[in-house]
């Protein structure tokens, strides 16, 4: 049964057509107009020797001095080495500013904590942020981690969400709907395992499809990034030093989470996979309810896209604010959940945004899974 359901999903030609274009886009999208400098030349290695690691007052002073020199024209910056050095000096200076901002924030919070009454919600929020920031261990500095930037390029920007969700939609909308359009639903419902086990098997096949797809696309991205950067150095750098990628506004410099890049990657990767499964379950549910793959396709597509549109046209105020934070596309962008300190008031206690959204979607997905069984079992045969 399981292999038959997998066969039904994996033998659709349309999936392969779209997959082909996805991989083509992943390759050319970045190749023709690269979003960022690769920084994999030898000169950066040398610069890293001198400037790498967490910033110190000494490094900042030196960097500012160098920058001053080149600005005043005393040093001609024509060669590649000079330009690279100038870039690194700039990055060190920026890291210094971020370090100062972090320290300032910790001081401000200490000040707030002194004023607030210790039982209030505001106090809890401030103390939570304060203790998280306290635990950060000199996160700002110059690190060579551009290759990891590339690895996150498949997780955080909208394109990764679009690629994954499109393929999920295409592969999974027909899982239940096709049994109705091909008029096999009546036959299946009348068999021994046609009401319960068939549903479990279909869900398992769907998850298999998502898994294969997910691993494949991440692997393809890994290969492309390897080709571009020639390695994955910087795996143990703090996430706060991850530079902005394709969209400049995505930066972790103010993130309160004290992880190394590799830990952060594994976490984001896992969350994104969960998000894909959650979305897959939604698609299956709509496929059972609407009994038509095209309608299921557009409704799930709309559920994914509308929060994004609300954000785009600046409607994210009031109740819409929750819609634009708690939705499938935010969950799929996994890494961006950890961009900054963000809590929600749950019964008077501040709960961090990432565990909250995960919890909500875990519950939602369980309910949807139950509803799939329920709907399939108690449906009446029509036509």
């Amino acid at each position: 049964m399981y292999s038959n359901e997998c066969y039904k999903i994996f033998t659709r030609k349309s999936i392969y057509i779209v997959l082909f274009f996805v991989i083509l886009t992943m390759y050319y999208g970045d190749l023709i107009y690269p979003g960022d400098m690769p920084m994999n030349e030898g000169v950066y290695e040398e610069l890293h020797e001198a400037w790498g690691g967490p910033v110190t007052d000494e490094k900042i002073a030196l960097a500012r001095e160098e920058m001053g020199l080149s600005d005043s024209g005393e040093k001609a910056s024509a060669s590649f080495e000079d330009m690279a050095a100038a870039e690194v000096h700039f990055m060190v200076a920026i890291a210094g500013m971020n370090r100062d901002r972090l320290n300032e924030r910790i001081e401000n919070l200490s000040g707030e904590l002194a004023h607030l009454s210790s039982g209030s919600y505001e106090y809890r929020v401030a103390s939570k942020e304060w203790s998280m920031l306290q635990e950060l261990n000199e996160p700002h500095g110059f690190f060579l981690i551009r290759a990891w930037r590339g690895m996150f390029d498949f997780i955080e920007p909208v394109s990764g969400v679009i690629f994954l969700s499109t393929l999920i939609l295409l592969g999974l909308t027909p899982v239940f709907a096709d049994e109705y359009t091909k008029r096999t639903a009546d036959l299946i419902l009348a068999t021994k395992h046609g009401k319960r086990r068939i549903v479990s098997v279909k869900i398992m096949a769907a998850i298999t499809y998502i898994f294969v797809l997910f691993i494949l696309l991440h692997f393809v991205n890994l290969v492309f990034q390897w080709g571009k950067f020639g390695g994955f150095q910087g795996w143990n750098a703090p996430i706060q030093s991850l530079p902005g990628g394709l969209s400049i506004d995505l930066l972790y410099e103010q993130s309160p989470y004290g992880w190394e890049v590799w830990q952060f990657f594994i976490l984001s990767f896992t969350i994104q996979f969960f998000a894909c499964v959650a979305f897959g379950i939604l698609v299956l549910f709509l496929s059972v309810v609407w009994k038509n793959s095209m309608i299921a396709f557009f409704i799930s597509g709309a559920l994914l896209g509308i929060p994004f549109m609300i954000q785009q046209i600046g409607l994210n105020r009031g109740a819409f604010q929750y819609v634009s934070s708690f939705n499938y596309s935010e969950l799929m962008k996994a890494a961006t959940l950890f961009e900054q300190f963000k809590v929600y008031n749950v019964l008077g206690y501040p709960i961090l945004y990432p565990p909250l959204i995960l919890g909500i979607f875990l519950v939602l997905t369980s309910v949807l899974t139950y509803l799939i069984y329920y709907r399939f079992r108690y449906q009446q045969v029509v036509n």
Binding site: T25, S159, N292
Partner: protein, 218 residues
């Protein structure tokens, strides 16, 4: 019959086909464009982007109407009529294409006050160029896949293209500011592909043997 006479006949036929195309199609397409108009007017969208985004959508849904006979199993009966299946398909294709182009042109005109750097003529090139290429792609897919599969597959490809424009600002900038010659070149390619697809379509739906073949595993 000359090509022109045939064309005139198809155009005449298309007026008869208006009644077959479902009302919901006309209305949905129009509503989609109205929504696009309002969102662009009140949101922070680039009007050119809205235009490109919406351009091929009525055509895609329209193809469902074009191939309605095939989807609902009337192909064989229609083939044996005086106006044969491929002529019916061409007539509806003409109808849907004209409707799509009209909607796009109206939207482009309504955006004139919103864009100052781009002339209406350039706006036409910007939406029409991807439209021709994607219309050709849509036709190619629709001849091979059953209706619902075709629509979902095409929309997937369309989403990827939109994702590319959304994400890679460099791509978008290049796309919206390309050389006019480049547009004409791409448009030429698009038109050529479209012509090839239409020719294949005529051949395919002239005989039952070709016409009934659709991918079994989509």
């Amino acid at each position: 019959m000359t090509l022109l006479e045939r064309f005139i006949q198809i155009v005449k036929r298309s007026t008869e086909e208006v009644s077959v195309v479902s009302k919901s199609y006309w209305i949905t397409s129009m509503v989609l464009f109205l929504v696009g108009y309002f969102l662009t007017n009140y949101g922070a969208y680039n009007p050119l982007f809205t235009l490109v985004l919406l351009a091929p959508i009525p055509f895609i849904f329209g193809l469902l109407e074009v191939f309605k006979g095939r989807e609902q199993g009337l192909l064989e009966m229609e083939m044996a009529c005086k106006f044969s299946a491929h002529e019916i398909i061409l007539a509806r294709l003409f109808l849907v294409g004209m409707y799509n182009i009209t909607l796009n042109s109206l939207l482009a005109v309504s955006f004139v006050p919103l864009v100052d750097s781009t002339t209406i003529w350039e706006m036409f090139l910007i939406w029409f160029t991807p439209f021709t290429i994607f219309a050709a792609l849509a036709l190619a897919l629709s001849m091979r896949f059953r209706g619902t599969v075709f629509v979902t597959t095409f929309f997937s490809l369309w989403l990827i293209f939109i994702g590319l424009l959304l994400n890679h600002h460099a791509w978008t900038a290049h796309f919206f500011n390309a050389n006019t010659v480049m547009y004409f070149l791409l448009m030429g390619v698009g038109m050529l592909l479209l012509a090839i697809q239409v020719r294949m379509l005529i051949r395919k739906y002239s005989t039952y043997e070709e016409g009934r073949t659709l991918e079994a595993n989509y």
